[in-house]
């Protein structure tokens, strides 16, 4: 989990750095309020992912989806935790039922406007 999270954010940060020097380890760490060595260790998978607040800040800096980064870090955002805690059995059952379904089937849970033939 640590390695997957680290690899993902390093790849994304490096992509951005080719466009803008503001995305060096040092600069991103400064904006995140951590030491560069700490961020570097996270990227190498030598350090566990940071707190939810730091992951949220990192998602903002890198232009990434917060839920994706939290999931890669093995975390569930606090607002989702609250939702689950309110009806734990229902949501546990729902997630287990959805776990093997393909993306298009899961997306049907979010109601889309259907495109047809025209």
């Amino acid at each position: 989990m640590m390695k997957i999270f680290g690899d993902y954010i390093r790849k994304r940060r490096e992509e951005l750095r080719t466009l803008d020097r503001e995305f060096s380890v040092r600069k991103v760490a400064a904006r995140l309020g951590v030491q560069p060595s700490y961020l570097s260790k996270i990227e190498r998978g030598e350090q566990a992912p940071p707190t939810e607040a730091k992951i949220r800040a990192l998602a903002e800096i890198l232009g990434e989806d917060t839920d994706v980064l939290l999931a890669l870090a093995g975390k569930v955002s606090s607002d989702l935790q609250e939702v689950i805690v309110r009806r734990p059995q229902l949501f546990a059952q729902l997630i287990r039922q959805l776990k093997d379904m393909p993306d298009h089937a899961v997306l049907k849970v979010v109601r889309e406007v259907r495109d047809g033939s025209w």
Binding site: L19, D20, G63, V110, E112, V113, G116, S117, W118
Partner: protein, 346 residues
């Protein structure tokens, strides 16, 4: 993917960029006089109510189910404009750009050509959002459009019938393409967030209270002339992610049909242009110094307006077409003023 939220269509492309979201809503408005003069922009009188056609399977025509998409009610006495809002991304100090194609009865509202799913640069058959904040009609010449007004399909007035000779499709068709992510990040690199940044204001709208015709569906016909530029693509054809797109068919139901299908009352009939103007309410003018306007379409310029067509047919389709001379015109400049709105109440 496209979701229906609060009577707006929300196009999102999370596979391209988490902030790639475009909201399109359909604003009710009054018909501007179809008198050969160029008019200012009319107000937004609130969103048309929108429903999934799938929710009314068995009560809507079969081809609506085949097309998928959504439906909305329109009175023959009213008109429509489309409001585009792709939100503001503070860290990039811009909105995510989209290429948007709009057609009425599968006739492209910018070029007058038949509908295709693809984007075309020459001639440009799409608009660019956020540069284009709204669209009120068919682009007939540089800086001038003819207002989208509702007419029953099958009577020969719609743009589709005038160009193709058939009353086949009706409705509105929309397809949206996002800018490529790498192009977006190169053109709009992240900036350090400043405090007290001026809040982004959308060219918004308001809600006004709500009304009612029978035959099958409606189409959009060219109404009165209005000052509106369709902006040239300021980026480049290659900047659009042409592999990623979402499209939607918007069916137009007349008021009686709407009530029969949904059981809901349609919104009330809007005021006439003269009533609105006499009440001292404002019209609008939009100014974007940086925008270059497209030339307009000769095909669309050849269309007959509803009044012109009515005279030829010996009919009088718009009994309330009195001229209106606005006393108040509010000029809106792109991106400079807070609380830029285009809204009216009556």
């Amino acid at each position: 993917m496209i979701e229906l939220k609060n009577d707006s269509l929300v196009f999102s492309f999370p596979e391209v960029h988490p902030k790639a979201r475009l909201r399109i809503d359909f604003q009710r408005t009054l018909r501007i006089p179809d008198d050969g003069r160029d008019h200012f922009l009319p107000p937004g009188l609130g969103n048309f109510p929108i429903r999934h056609v799938d929710d009314f399977n068995g009560r809507v025509p079969y081809d609506w189910i085949e097309h998928g998409g959504v439906m909305l009610p329109m009175h023959q006495a009213e008109a429509m404009w489309l409001n585009f809002d792709s939100g503001y991304i503070p860290e990039h100090e811009t909105s995510y750009p989209f290429a948007v194609k709009i057609a009425a009865g599968k006739i492209d509202a910018v070029t007058g050509e038949n509908w295709t799913n693809g984007l075309h640069g020459l001639p440009q058959d799409y608009m660019v959002v956020p540069e284009q904040p709204w669209l009120d009609g068919f682009c007939i010449e540089k800086g001038t459009i003819r207002q989208f007004v509702a007419m029953p399909l099958g009577e020969g007035y719609t743009a589709e019938e005038q160009i193709s000779g058939k009353a086949e499709h009706g409705g509105l068709q929309i397809i949206v393409y996002p800018m490529k992510r790498e192009v977006f990040e190169r053109r709009f690199p992240k900036v350090e967030r400043k405090r007290d940044r001026m809040e982004h204001m959308t060219m918004s709208k308001m809600i006004m209270p709500c009304m009612a015709d029978m035959d099958a569906d409606m189409g959009l016909a060219p109404g009165g002339r209005m000052k509106q530029e369709i902006c040239e693509d300021p980026y480049g054809y290659e900047d659009w992610d042409r592999k990623t797109r979402s499209r939607c068919f918007v069916h137009l139901a007349n008021s009686i049909m709407w009530r029969a299908i949904t059981g809901e009352a349609p919104p009330t009939i809007p005021p006439t242009a003269r009533q609105y103007t006499s009440a001292g309410l404002p019209w609008y003018d939009y100014y974007d110094a940086d925008a270059v306007a497209l030339e307009g379409s000769e095909i669309l310029d050849d269309l007959k307006s509803v009044i012109q067509m009515g005279y030829e047919k010996g009919e009088y389709p718009l009994p309330e077409n009195e001229p209106a001379r606005p006393k108040r015109v509010i000029r809106l400049r792109k991106g400079l003023e807070r609380n830029q709105v285009r809204e009216g109440s009556f």
